[in-house]
Amino acid sequence: MLEIGVNHYLILSGLLFSIGLMGVLRRKNLLMLFFATEVMLNAVNIAFTAIGNYYGDLSGQMFAFFIIAVAASEVAVGLGLLIVLYKKYGSLDLDVISSMKG
């Protein structure tokens, strides 16, 4: 019971990922959707590092590094797009922004 194994980390990572997924599903504001995406990326980082530690393999950490790089560039481009959208529509709500009827 007092031993923390890889399954503890994996279950925690799954919980955090599903929290992020719930956020992506129920949020209507684009900035909040970005926050939920960051939660999901962080959860996956924990899983990669835990599995890499379990197998004595540095590849898990390498993939976590590349995920961090992807997240950083995603934030840079995404926030630029958000600023453009906010200048155009004056709101970040998906119901206001959406132009397709369906």
Binding site: I4, L15, L21
Partner: protein
């Protein structure tokens, strides 16, 4: 014993902070909770022996990404509460709960299928120096096995930087000061032409 206490403290703190991030109506609260949760996540990396990754998490996520979010929030109205219209909350919670269960099972499945082999074990693969720290080992693997992905990531960051500059600074082409300067020049030219015509 210490690992046990640390793991549960970090786990409970991270879960609560991320729940605040996902459920909160205020952008400022959500962002602060997200930053706090990312600090707590770096604790897991230190627990797992990935010191360099923990430091990178602190610097890049908590330092750079959250600062970028805070900077972008200056363009939006951050003090006002967000009003979100949910059409069917109970269906969302049902589907979300089912997906949570599915994902937790999927993430813990590697424990059951215990026949995966390590591709690049930590010290044996590097094999140069005994008792290298995590940062040295990461450097040796990153600049040998993962050199090309590393360079591609660098190129991707460059592209993202250019895209961010172009997207956020799109209106800088026709600023007010520049137009006024051009107007003044045109006025002066018109006046001088008039004077020439009179002479």
């Amino acid at each position: 014993m210490y690992e046990f206490i640390a793991f549960y403290v970090f786990a409970i703190a991270t879960t609560i902070l991320f729940l605040i991030t996902v459920m909160s109506k205020n952008v400022l609260y959500a962002m602060s909770a997200l930053a706090g949760g990312m600090v707590m996540i770096s604790g897991f990396f230190f627990l797992l022996g990935a010191d360099f990754l923990g430091v990178v998490q602190l610097i890049v996520y908590v330092g750079a990404v959250m600062a970028l979010y805070a900077f972008a929030m200056m363009f939006f109205d951050a003090t006002k509460d967000i009003k979100e219209k949910h059409q069917n909350p109970s269906l969302v919670f049902l589907l979300g709960g089912l997906m949570s269960l599915l994902f937790v099972v999927m993430f813990s499945a590697p424990i059951i299928g215990d026949n995966v082999q390590a591709l690049y074990p930590v010290v044996e693969n590097v094999g140069v120096v005994e008792n290298v720290g995590n940062a040295q080992a990461v450097g040796m693997v990153l600049f040998t096995k993962y050199l090309i992905p590393f360079e591609v990531a660098a190129l991707m960051l460059l592209v993202a930087m250019i895209a961010g500059i172009i997207l956020a600074g799109k209106k800088m082409d026709y600023s007010l000061t520049k137009c006024e300067a051009i107007d003044e020049e045109m006025d002066i030219e018109a006046i001088t032409e008039n004077e020439k015509g009179e002479a």
